[in-house]
Each structure stands twice: as C-alpha cells, then as structure tokens.
Amino acid sequence: MPRAHSPGSRALGICRPGRVSYLEALALQRKLVEQRRSGAIDDVLLLLEHPHVITLGVRGDGGRSHILAGTDALASRGVEVHETGRGGDVTYHGPGQIVGYPILDLKPDRCDVHRYVRDLEDVLIRTAADFGIGAQRVPGLTGVWVGREKLAAIGVRLSRWITSHGFALNVSTDLDYFNLIVPCGIADRGVTSVERLLGRPVPTVAVEDRIVSHFCQVFDRSAVELSA
C-alpha cells in the first residue's frame, strides 16, 4: 500500500472557517502570510466559501472589461466586486464553490512558480478523479478543465515565496453567475461544476476531504485539522 508521505513531512494546518466574505479572507490571508514569514505559524490551507463576489486580478485592467453585467445588475443579484492582489483575470466566487487559500512557505525546495501552479492543478485533477471526473490541464490556460469547460480556477500570489490566494473549485456553484463575467478573460470556453458533470449533488465536505488528502500527498505535508 502506498505511503501518504514520509513521516518527517511538514505539518499543514487545515482550517475550514465556513463562509467568509472576500474582504475578511483577504485580511486574514495578509496576516497569515506575515505570520508564516515570521515563523509564528506553520503552513496553513484555508478551505472556505465566499458569498457572491466578482474579483479582479492585477494584470492590465484587472479584467474589468470582462465584467459583462452593469453595476445595477450586479447589485440586484447581491454580487460585490473587489480588486485583489492575485495573478489572473476576473473571476466569480460564490456558494457551492470550494475556495482554497494555501499559505505555504515554498522555501527551501519548492521555489518554482510554475511547479507550484502545476502542483495545485495536480491536486484538483486527482480530486476530480476521485469522483470519476476526468479533468485535465490545457496548455497555456491555467486551471483545471473538463473538455472545454473550466472546473477550477487558479490565481496565485507569492510574497517572498510565501503563497496566498489559490484555487476555486466549482462543486455545486450556480453557474449562471458566471454569465456576469468572461471567466479569466477567456471568451470561448465555458465553466462547469462537479454537480453538473455527475448529474447529482456531492457534499462539499467530501470534496474538501479529498482535496486535503491529495494536497498532502502532492506537497508532502501532514494534515492537522484546526478548528476555527
């Protein structure tokens, strides 16, 4: 039987605070990055859910031109818009989507941004496979795809090799909300979710558990659940 990881692997705190507003999560990540840098905490993986929000990346106009809906339409649907410090273009977060924010120190042996992104993709592809979904990478398009549809988005920030931001996996997301934007600025591809692909509901926590397991394997960490 395969070993999950060597006994000496680094600890990874798993924190599942439930639904957290985008701004709260942003403030939290900022603090955790500082604390991770100072060594006050170990690596942490935040798994949470955001209320409806559209977020913009740092490139170009941050993807503002990729928001299709007018301010009124956004307001009437209760969708906030926020700028972020992550890479990537515009994206949507909302209920039914697992948002993962790994706060990891990639030093000393993982100082490679492409490897980090590939590893995140790997975690999500394996997670999807556990539910019988054949997800894959598409060269040149970061994220995890099933056919021409995006199952999970990735946008990462590094601050002296401490990671923040991360990934968003659609489990039972109301995909209609993506019609408000051009996800990641890619116009000719759609979005999908675990629930849509399987045609049945899947409990979010089951997917989270698989993410944690694969995350630990790919990143060689030992998970410890934190209650928050």
Binding site: M1, P2, R3, A4, H5, G13, C15, P17, S21, L26, L28, R30, K31, V33, E34, A40, I41, D42, P51, L56, V58, D61, G62, T71, A75, S76, R77, G78, V79, E80, V81, H82, E83, G85, C111, D112, V113, H114, R115, Y116, I125, A129, D130, I154, V156, R157, L158, S159, R160, S164, V212, S213, C216, Q217, S222, A223, V224, L226, S227, A228
Partner: protein, 462 residues
C-alpha cells in the same frame, strides 16, 4: 556602491517576467528584503524584495514591460544618486512599511494612502451591492482575528502531533514561542528530559509495530514479550499502552476467544496479473491512481464472496447472518499502530474504483482523516503482510467477521510447469476463517475461486 537588481528566475521553465508594479520609486529608500517590485507570470504574481538596503537610483524597466530573466531592472545606490526623476523631498517621505505594502493594496489601486495602512482591505471597485451585506471594517478585522487566533493558538500542528503521539498535555508545558506558544524545540526538549525511557520505549514500540503492521496475528508475539517481564525487571522500561494499542490488544484476544481459527494457504501464480498490471499501469496513472496487486486481489476476493456467501457472514448466537453488502476492510499499517478502514459496497467498484478507494483509505488512515464510519461495517478483511516481506501470514479474524485474507510477498520463484522449471511471479494467499460456520472444503472452494480469477485475469476486466 551601486547594486544591480535583476529580473529573478522564479522557476525552471521561466525565461522572462513582466513588471506589474514598482512599489518603490526612484529616490525611495529601501531596506534589504523590503518589497521593491511585483512581477507577473501567467496566473502567478510575485513580490520581489530588494537584495540590498539603499536608495533606488535607477529604474530601467517600466511597469507592463516584459524582460528576460537576469536583465537589470533597477539599480540601488548606497546614497541618493543624481539619476533622472529624483525628487528632493521623496526620500524624506517615509515609505509605507513593508507589512502594508507587502501584500497590501491591489496593484490597480491608486497610491496607498495612510488610511489603507490601518484598514488593509482594498476598496471595492463598485459600490457594494447592498450596504447590509457589506461587512463593516471592524467586523471584518474581528472575524479575521478570531480565525487567525485559532490558527495561531493551535498553530503548530507538528507540535500537537508530537504531543499526541507521546501522550503529552501541551497545556502543561512552558512555551518559549510567540505569546507563550509551545514550539517544536520546547516539546522535544521536554521529551528529551525523559530520554532514558523514551529511547527504549521507541524500540519496543517498533517491534510491536512490525508485528501489528504486517499482520494482526503477530500481536500475540508482542504479548509474549510482555510475559517475559510482566512488571518490569530492573532496568526494564514500563510503558502505558496507547489507547489504540489497547484497543488492538483487546480486539485480537477477543477474536482468538470467539472464533475457531483455521488457516488455509494457497499458492497463486501472479504472472498474468503482473502483465496486466504493467500494461495498464499508465492508464491508471493518467486516471490519478496506482494499480497495485492488492486491487486485483480485492477484486478477485469480492467475486469469490459472492460465490461463497458464508465467507461474507457473521455469527449471532446460533444464527448465521449473511451480509447483503460486501464491505472490504483493508488493514493499514501506521507508524503508531494499525487500523482497518472499510471500503463500503466494494462489490460495486471496478478495478479503478477499488484502486482509488484503497489508496484513499490508506492515505486517510495515515493522515488521521478517517471518520468513525470509515472503520465500521466491514464484512471481510484483507491484510497484506507481504509488503513487509512475509512469505505468508496467519491473520486473526477481524470480529464480527468470519474470514480474513492474508497476502504474502509477490516475488519471482522457480515453479514446475509441464515438467519444466520456470520462473514465475508467485505469492501465497492465506485465508483465516472461523470453523464454527466455515468448513475446510468451503474455505478452499473460496480460495480456489480467488486463485483461478488471479491466474486467468482477463486483460481488460474491470
């Protein structure tokens, strides 16, 4: 002295980088390791710290420009240089501290103003949808602090794990870390303090582990070690059993008392399975899992359980309960003991599904992610002492089940085929069964089905 700042290589396959934002301007004072600029590659944004302390004397690459790695993007001088856009007043204006700028205001946001320092959340680009749903900054900070303190207080999962393994109550230790946190050194120091004991205990523990791990049957031997020195003689070490150890001990002795154990060993030719495994390995890897011998054995055993239902049963008084479900327990070796997570409805899974499930429960067992439900409801167990080199095992039945399959080491051995000596992948499989309800002929019938399936594996059989 002037120092060149270059575009860093952020990864092996990365040849260039785009400067997204200059955090410092020409003339700004910068400390060593203070964020200087931000770069972007695809979906990753990274903040680059200054290699030295000094004053930014030159910026050679504008925001939005892409340059190859190792290109000089800026120059930092020891003092204010007479370079282009230096504004006399600029160095005096205290730059925002690193912590605010580090991850602070988003790139597109205008200059961070003072207010942004104490209230880090960036302004929303559009008016919030409804004021009620927009959290007040104070609430935001408060909530973040709650989560954060939860993480910090329990922030050393490693320490907590060490504490758990050694049965140490962390609250009884004096922490030297931030805010009195118990650090790794603190707990290791504490454990070192009990060194004489710990060293030997560790060894004794290992003897036990190899036994339990390989196969429950050997736990009995560990018991014998205990009999040599029941109370501890002279320099012997006396160690309290961990709760898991105690449960294993009780469970094993109970099983020996309950069932009339008999074992039957079959030799199985795994050559065909080895070929199929090699042929399909890549296919399974693409699907994100590993194809192991155990998956084939589990699949074969499940089919045999359908054919011989009394092996998938329990005893209740003088009744035999035939289980409709086939829930396969997989014995998983842990550094701290042994656990048998259960794959529910294993008969509904194909080879791929079984491989995934086995890897999944094994991983979750080792990362302590199993839920109580994951170790209950088993109707038959497979244990794999072969991975530790055992030729075959004589496993103890996992109550209230009535049979357990032990898998020996799969290796090349000389065998006689048509009066010639050939080299084949061989292994011994053992069925431990409860003679109260399973007779030898029935057990052997079960094992024959397993053997036949493995030796004649259809290349593409699920």
């Amino acid at each position: 002295m002037a120092t060149d700042v270059v575009m860093p290589q952020m990864g092996e396959s990365i040849a260039e980088g785009t400067i997204v934002r200059w955090i410092k301007k020409v003339g700004d004072q910068v400390d060593r390791d203070e964020p200087l600029f931000e770069i972007s590659t695809d979906k990753v944004d990274a903040e680059i710290p200054s290699p030295v302390a000094g004053v930014v004397s030159e910026i050679r690459v504008k925001e939005g420009e892409t340059v190859p790695i190792n290109s000089v993007v800026a120059v930092i001088g020891g003092a204010v240089q007479a370079a282009g856009g230096v504004q006399p007043g600029a160095p005096a204006a205290a730059p925002p501290g690193p912590s605010q700028q580090a991850d602070g205001a988003p790139a597109r946001a205008v200059t961070p103003e003072d207010g942004a320092r104490s209230a880090p959340p960036p302004r929303s680009a559009e008016p919030p949808a409804s004021p009620a749903s927009s959290p007040r900054p104070a609430a935001v900070v408060e909530r973040a602090e709650t989560i954060e303190s939860a993480i910090r207080q329990r922030s050393s999962p490693l320490v907590r794990r060490i504490a758990k393994e050694h049965n140490v109550d962390i609250s009884q230790l004096r922490g030297t870390g931030i805010a009195g946190r118990v650090t790794k050194n603190d707990i290791l120091g504490y454990l070192d303090g009990q060194e004489g004991q710990e060293g030997r205990v560790g060894q004794a523990g290992q003897v036990g582990q190899v036994g339990q791990v390989g196969q429950e049957g050997r736990v009995g031997q560990v018991g014998q070690v205990g009999q040599v020195a029941p109370g501890g003689i002279g320099s012997d070490t006396v160690e309290k059993m961990s709760p898991m150890r105690k449960r294993i001990a009780e469970h094993m002795v109970l099983s020996r008392r309950t069932s009339a154990h008999v074992h039957s060993v079959f030799e199985v030719n795994f050559t065909r399975v080895a070929q199929v495994r090699d042929a399909r390995k890549a296919e399974f890897e693409r699907a994100g899992t590993k194809l192991t011998y155990l998956s084939f054995i589990a699949r074969a055993a499940i089919d045999a359980l359908h054919a011989v239902p009394v092996v998938n049963a329990s005893v209740d008084g003088d009744s035999i309960i035939y289980h409709r479900e086939v829930n396969i327990g997989i014995a998983v070796a842990l550094d701290w003991g042994l656990i048998v997570p259960v794959i529910k409805h294993a008969d509904e899974k194909n080879l791929l599904g079984l491989s995934r499930s086995i890897a999944d429960v094994a991983n979750r067992a080792r990362t302590k992610q199993l839920k109580p439900d994951d170790v209950q409801g088993g109707t038959f167990t497979i244990t794999n002492p072969g991975v530790f080199g055992a030729l075959f095992g004589m496993p103890i039945i996992n109550q209230p089940q009535v049979a357990i399959l032990g898998v020996g080491n799969v290796e090349k051995r000389p065998v006689v085929i048509d009066d010639a000596i050939a080299i084949r992948q061989m292994a011994y499989l053992t069925l431990g069964y409860d003679h109260r309800i399973i007779d030898g002929a029935v057990a052997d019938q079960f094992m024959s089905i397993v053997k036949r399936a493995l030796e004649n594996w259809e290349p593409n059989a699920g």
